[in-house]
Amino acid sequence: MERRRELVNFLPVLLLMLVGFASVYAARSEQINAGSLTYGLFFIGLFAGAHLLLRVAAPHADPYLLPLAALLSALGIMMIYRIDPGLAAAQTKWLMVGLGLFAAIVVFLRDYRKLDDYIYLLGALGVLLLALTIIFGSEINGARLWLRFGGLSIQPGEFSKVLITIFLAGYLNSKRELLSTTTWRFLGIPMPDLKHLLPLVTMWGLSFALLLLMNDLGTSLLFFGIFLAMTYVATGRLAYPMLGGILFTGGAILAYNIKYTVHTRVDIWLNPWTDAAGSGYQIVQSLFAIGDGGLFGTGLGKGYLLFQSGEPIIPALHTDFIFSAIAEELGLAGATALIILFMLLCYRGFKIAITSDDGFSKLLAVGLSAGLALQTFVILGGVMKLIPLTGITLPFVSYGGSSIVANYASLALLLLISHRTNAEQAS
């Protein structure tokens, strides 16, 4: 039943995908050759495979998640193809790896609740990945987010995000009773025993360390946001996110005052126009691109995204700034549709959390969905100058192996949770 609905859901994805590739090709036929259109066909093949796998391995899984992710990926590949057909080939390969991991998780982690037994190991691995990045990472645009192995760069933060979410789901699930019992008050807010607060303080410390050592407000905000959301859901107490918010704001203000790179980023955010050709160039060009889109956009392939040389006008256009390209070519209508897709993705994730019947599954589903939503908010808010800009990918859409692979792993977990719940209800 779910899989037949999924197949129907794939139809509009397929249609949009074909129309999209055709219009990019029509608009830029001078620059790109017809052979590269095969990426489109290859893409369809990959998702047909994923669909068939679910039919066998998780037939009751949510029927909307995979088509939504496919649509986002399709939009991403289409834009990347439009920016640089060569990168679309690489992205297609990463998509293969991502769906490979997706398949592996669906097949080998069908009883994902076993993860609950290894949460400390997974959490430690997540922290280790971040630590390695901080120690051995290379700096790009002042932020230390990348690990290099030969020609391959990975962004361990993307994987850490999933691992730490799993850890938090297990930890908070086992400690939620204790965290909900308050014994004292801090500034009038009822608080649990200090020893149970320790993970909160640790997590705050970790987020803050991320901010100071990786120079990245966005990643730090993302981790802390996931943590607060999960703590709130686990305890049902607003005091945690409130206190956390105060702590984080305090930390951010401190970082602004002591860290030059954080200071610069915030200043560029507050007024990019004073140095529009220098430090403010990227965000100012992003706003020009977005503004140029207007209500309905310039049309796919017709925006002013590249210089004559083929270099993108906005640096990091295919990764962090892919939304600016989409907003220019598809306009307010198309870009709003994209935001709605993310909201639907988030909605399905939260729905899975609500329907599932055990604490670990609920918390895991909430954590993974909130992570996707927050990451979307951080990068979209950044390229639109709503919050200070930070280098982070737009899930499923941006170019980038780590991001694609980690997000398809999240997707697989969400599907497994929904499969288990739905299968139990069906039987």
Binding site: I339, V366, F377, L380
Partner: protein
């Protein structure tokens, strides 16, 4: 847990809603502002497929043409740095400035009038391109003025106006730059402390110093408060105004004299008294009548023109801002936070030369479709009449005296009677700014001029020879 999950989802929906709201803000509300931002080159790039109209000087010499590469047109400026600030540039990376920006719709043929003609041309099978601008700019006067400034090796500006029409005959700002080499030199041009990209003629804010006495005197005569022969006494070379001392240059005392002599010798003590007598309200009223406190209505982009007036912390103050009597006295001699542009001072000289009638300055003589059909013709237009013709005549006589007997003696020549007012404004930490504001020939004024030279090393007169050369060139002498 489910109720918390629902609340959390509600928060997420709010966040996504916020994103859509911000997106709509940029794409709908701010769309126009973003498109018109001078840093935004997307429109420039798109319009590079259009063959831009030419920009021509007053004898149809080419100031801006095109070079074709593939299906794109690149701008070429055959006269290089001659009128770089006025023409501006049109560059796919750095955007547009100057007339290239303010007249872009005509130059690209996207203005309504041109589009209609282009549509007709398409019907009749003719090729489309942008409309040509013919300027009132005189290349001879312009190059004489530019070389005179460059020979000095100083920063500064010169504006020359046609007294009868307000047409701009020359507009120079130094240092200048070659717009053909903009991309190669961009970083250097921006890093240069002398700000070569700044159009000092319209954007340069300078303390007017004694050249401001033109306005003080105009107010004194026009209100009937003083006459050219009104008597003054100056025994000390300095004067105490409400406990504040205002001095003459080198504290020179001038003894018994009249207003006319005070003007030609630029006696500060006398003008401080005149200012005190006239009061803030009258002075400000005449400043506004001469166009201060508003941007001159000129054909450059609005953000390339500055208004003259009192400034505080880089912002134009309200004309109503309260002043104490000491400040009024200082203002009467051209100090007290006063900042003026060379264009504004040239307009004041033009008005006095033209019997009190200030003409709207303009530089675009005509706009013609590429087959020569005139689609827009520049018309001389009276902007204001700040003073009566009687006051203007009295002022003219006093300005002649400046050149013949006073501080402007360096402009005294057998070839033509020049009239004007000098000014030397102290600048903290650097040499003073030297002004000359005037017109010629005095008996039948043709050209009005304002010259300012920054960091003038010797006192007085450094702007005089530059003004003299320019005026002689303008009158063909």
């Amino acid at each position: 847990m489910n109720s918390s999950i629902r609340k959390l989802f509600f928060l997420m929906v709010l966040m996504f809603g916020g994103l859509v709201a911000v997106l709509a803000w940029w794409q709908v509300v701010q769309e126009q502002n973003l498109a018109e931002n001078p840093h935004n080159t997307r429109k420039v790039f798109a319009q590079m497929r259009i063959e831009r109209g030419l920009i021509l000087d007053n004898v149809r010499g080419e100031l801006a043409t095109n070079r074709r590469e593939g299906d794109l047109y690149y701008r070429v400026y055959p006269r290089g740095d001659l009128a770089a600030h006025l023409l501006g540039y049109s560059d796919p990376i750095y955007g547009r400035t100057g007339l290239e920006r303010s007249w872009n719709d005509y130059l690209t043929g996207t203005a309504d009038e041109v589009e209609l003609l282009n549509a007709l041309n398409t019907l009749t099978g003719k090729e489309n391109r942008g409309a040509d601008l013919k300027l009132t700019l005189d290349p001879g006067i312009q190059s004489t003025a530019l070389s005179a400034m460059q020979d000095l090796g100083k920063r500064g500006a010169i504006v020359v106006l046609d007294v009868k029409t307000g047409a701009v005959l020359a507009m120079v700002s130094t240092p200048t730059y070659d717009p053909n080499l903009l991309e190669e030199n961009w970083d250097q041009l921006n890093a240069d402390a002398d700000a070569p990209l700044l159009n000092r003629a319209t954007q340069g804010l300078y303390t007017p110093g004694s050249s401001f006495k033109l306005i003080t005197t105009a107010a004194a005569l026009d209100t009937g408060t003083f006459q050219p022969d009104s008597k003054f006494k100056d025994d000390k070379g300095s004067i105490d105004i409400y406990g504040n001392t205002i001095r003459n240059w080198r504290d020179l005392p001038f003894g018994d004299h009249d207003l006319s002599e005070a003007f030609s010798q630029s006696i500060n003590t006398t003008f401080a008294q005149v200012g005190d007598r006239l009061g803030q309200e009258t002075l400000i009223r005449y400043m506004q009548a001469f166009g201060l406190y508003s941007k001159p209505p000129f054909e450059l982009p609005a953000d390339e023109i500055m208004a003259s007036g009192r400034y505080q912390d880089g912002k134009l103050m309200s004309p109503e801002a309260a002043m104490d009597p000491v400040q009024v006295a200082w203002m009467a001699i051209g100090q007290e936070n006063l900042q003026v542009t060379p264009l504004q001072m040239a307009m004041i000289a033009q008005a006095i030369a033209n019997g009190g009638r200030m003409m709207k300055p303009y530089v675009v003589d005509s706009v013609a479709d590429f087959d020569g059909t005139i689609i827009r013709q520049g018309q001389p237009r009276e902007l204001a009449k700040p003073v009566s013709s009687g006051t203007a005549d009295d002022l003219k006589d006093m300005m002649i005296k400046v050149v013949n007997e006073g501080t402007g003696s360096r402009l005294k020549t057998d070839k033509v009677q020049i009239a004007g007012k000098t000014g030397t404004a102290e600048v903290e930490g650097r040499g003073p700014n030297a002004w000359f504001v005037g017109f010629a020939p005095a008996e039948d004024p043709q050209v009005a001029i304002a010259v300012v030279v920054e960091d003038a090393d010797s006192f007085g007169g450094i702007s005089g020879p530059v003004a003299l050369k320019t005026i002689l060139a303008a009158l063909g002498l």
